[in-house]
Amino acid sequence: MHIVVCVKQVPNTTQVRINPETNTLVRDGVESILNPFDENALEMALQLKEKHAGTKVTVLTMGPPQAAEVLKEAVGRGADAVTLLCDRAFAGSDTWATSYALSTAIRKMEPAPDLVLFGKQAIDGDTAQVGPGVADWLGLPCIAYARKIEIADGKAIVERNFEDGYEKLETSLPCALTVLKEANVPRMASLRGKMAAKKLALQPTTAEAVDADPAKLGLNASPTRVVKIFSPPPKTGGVKWQGEEPAVLAQRLADLLRERKLI
């Protein structure tokens, strides 16, 4: 079985602040990490590898040269192969263009993957669109918000979580999943894995190498634009009454609601 895990390098959001003047993220000095939900996707792949002999796990990311760090982290944990899609042509891609770019890289992979895994969403953009987007470009069935997978007889049985329960779905392979935090506890890198990662000589894969259509790449090909990023204004205090009889307060509240034509 060949499993492809798509991952993203993200700023560690616990350290990110928004510049109140410009309304942009202050990324200076902020550590970059492997997107936490992608860790769960990778862990799901590695557990399947332990269960099904002969499984190969390939980890794919698109980003600047320094995104190689998350691929090294993946190798440290047990990924067999990695691809770094890195080209100026990809710069500024939104979720649509990113999905397209990733799909072109996956199409080129040998053997063709049986399973393509994504984290539920990235913690910087929070769109949750790239996973299903890639599945669409590849024409694969996609199950989002997966918490469990079992593979048998060329089929996958997947549990998809909802707020109040879960669905158990069966799908043919190949398929794509986006994986929840609840799925597992991601392992830490092993010593031998870290040593292998140190020796890794990563060659970036260009847009041309994956036969990506330049008209579908980068900022210009992206149908969405980020107009503004801002912190939502803090909630204002409202009106507070206290210290009087409950009946008096209730009457006052009812009067106010009536005055504003809310009741």
Partner: protein, 391 residues
């Protein structure tokens, strides 16, 4: 944080980072619960095995990663100890159990028993102590009688760390009653061998996550091929093991004391009384200064001993005893002072320092009480200065 440069290898630094992160993420959240329930940290050891950290002391030809540098394993013990020595002793006891094999076993025995220990698939334990043979280890009564190509073991071992949890035991037994310590032999006994069973798990003051059990041998037949070295060499392996394992206890002590210092300083900075943080009181800051100085001194001595052993210093028995006795006394003092810094809160189980203080006590007792360590140092001095006088 400012730190001294001990000339650690790249591997040792890598291990320090890995184990520090692991201990924070996996051990810290559960240490209070493990202490309360006395549950053995099975999952934690399994994960350390998967991370290739169980074979740091085992040579590469037997599946480990050891290539002459003992610091990576020592630092792994130190970093686990910073968070919980109940966990770190369960980790380190594997090395203790394996030491007689590393020191005295044949290549064939090493090839059979070391690789599963290196991978973490199996765990080891060291079985010397008996109800009537503690400090006087030469007076053990467990017997091994040769019968064809087997030895038949009878007797009871007491307070065996990882007892019941480990798969491979290095067991010391008397093969010749008339020869005293020279009649002791060491055997590799596998869990599941008929006639080999376990007594109850001890209920302890500290290191409660660790498993301490009796081992019971009743006509237990062990293949003669599992004898380490020759008959009568057991006591040598037992003592040589302690010479290399005692710095591991010192590393536990350094880690534990560092953990207590970390807690104490952090608390002293945020706890306010009389309108200021208590660290602003000279009496308290001097106490912290003494604690920090002791921790670093203990670390420096321990590292120096291990690095000297690696560099081929031969007579290191005295130095092993010194780092064990010094660092464990420091751990007891520093953890006690950490409770004092916390005041009433320190006495409560909501904070980790009371556990650290309870845990520290064992370091002055096991692998030779601190009185035995001083005996070893004293004997060495007597011998060394005697030799010098003759010259």
């Amino acid at each position: 944080m400012a730190e001294l440069n001990y000339g650690l290898s790249e591997l040792a630094l890598e291990i320090r980072g890995m184990v520090r992160e692991f201990a924070e993420a996996r051990v810290k959240p559960v240490r209070a619960e493990l202490d309360e329930t006395g549950h053995f940290p099975t999952e934690i050891l399994r994960e350390l095995g998967k991370m290739d950290l169980m074979g740091l002391y085992i040579p590469t030809e037997y599946g480990g990663t050891f290539e002459g540098d003992s610091m990576p394993n020592l630092i792994a013990v130190e970093e686990l100890s910073r968070i919980c020595i109940g966990v770190s002793v369960s980790f380190a006891a594997n090395g203790l159990g394996a030491d007689p094999i590393l020191l005295g076993a044949s290549d064939e025995q090493k090839k059979k028993f070391l690789p599963p220990l290196a991978s973490g698939e199996k765990w080891a334990a060291y079985a010397l102590t008996e109800p009537n043979a503690g400090s006087d280890a030469g007076s053990i009564r467990t017997t091994a009688v040769k019968k064809g190509d087997k030895y038949v073991l009878n007797g009871t071992k007491q307070w065996i760390t990882n007892g019941g949890e480990a798969d491979i035991y290095t067991v010391f037994a008397v093969t010749d009653k008339n020869r005293g310590a020279r009649g002791v032999s060491c055997f590799i006994v596998e869990k599941g061998t008929p006639g080999f069973s376990f007594g109850k798990k001890e209920n302890k003051l500290g290191i409660r996550a660790s498993a301490t059990r009796e081992l019971i041998f009743e006509d237990c037949e062990v293949p003669a091929a599992n004898l380490i070295g020759r008959e009568g060499t057991g006591f040598i392996w037992a003592m040589k093991t302690f010479d290399v394992s005692r710095p591991g206890i010192a590393a536990q002590a350094v880690g534990l004391a560092q953990g207590a210092l970390d807690e104490a300083v952090a608390y002293a900075k945020v706890r306010e009384q009389f309108g200021k943080p208590i660290i602003a009181n000279q009496g308290l800051s001097w106490m912290l200064a003494d604690m920090a100085t002791k921790v670093e001194t203990a670390r420096a001595l321990t590292y120096a001993v291990v690095q000297s052993i690696d560099r081929g210093v031969k007579d290191y028995s005295k130095f092993s005893a010194m780092c064990k006795v010094y660092a464990s006394d420091v751990a007891m003092q520093v953890t006690t002072d950490a409770v004092q810094v916390f005041g009433g809160y320190g006495y409560m189980k909501e904070y980790p320092v009371e556990k650290m203080m309870r845990d520290a006590k064992i370091l002055q007792i096991y692998e030779g009480t601190n009185q035995i360590q001083r005996d070893i140092i004293g004997l060495a001095l007597n011998k060394e200065y005697g030799a010098a006088a003759k010259k």
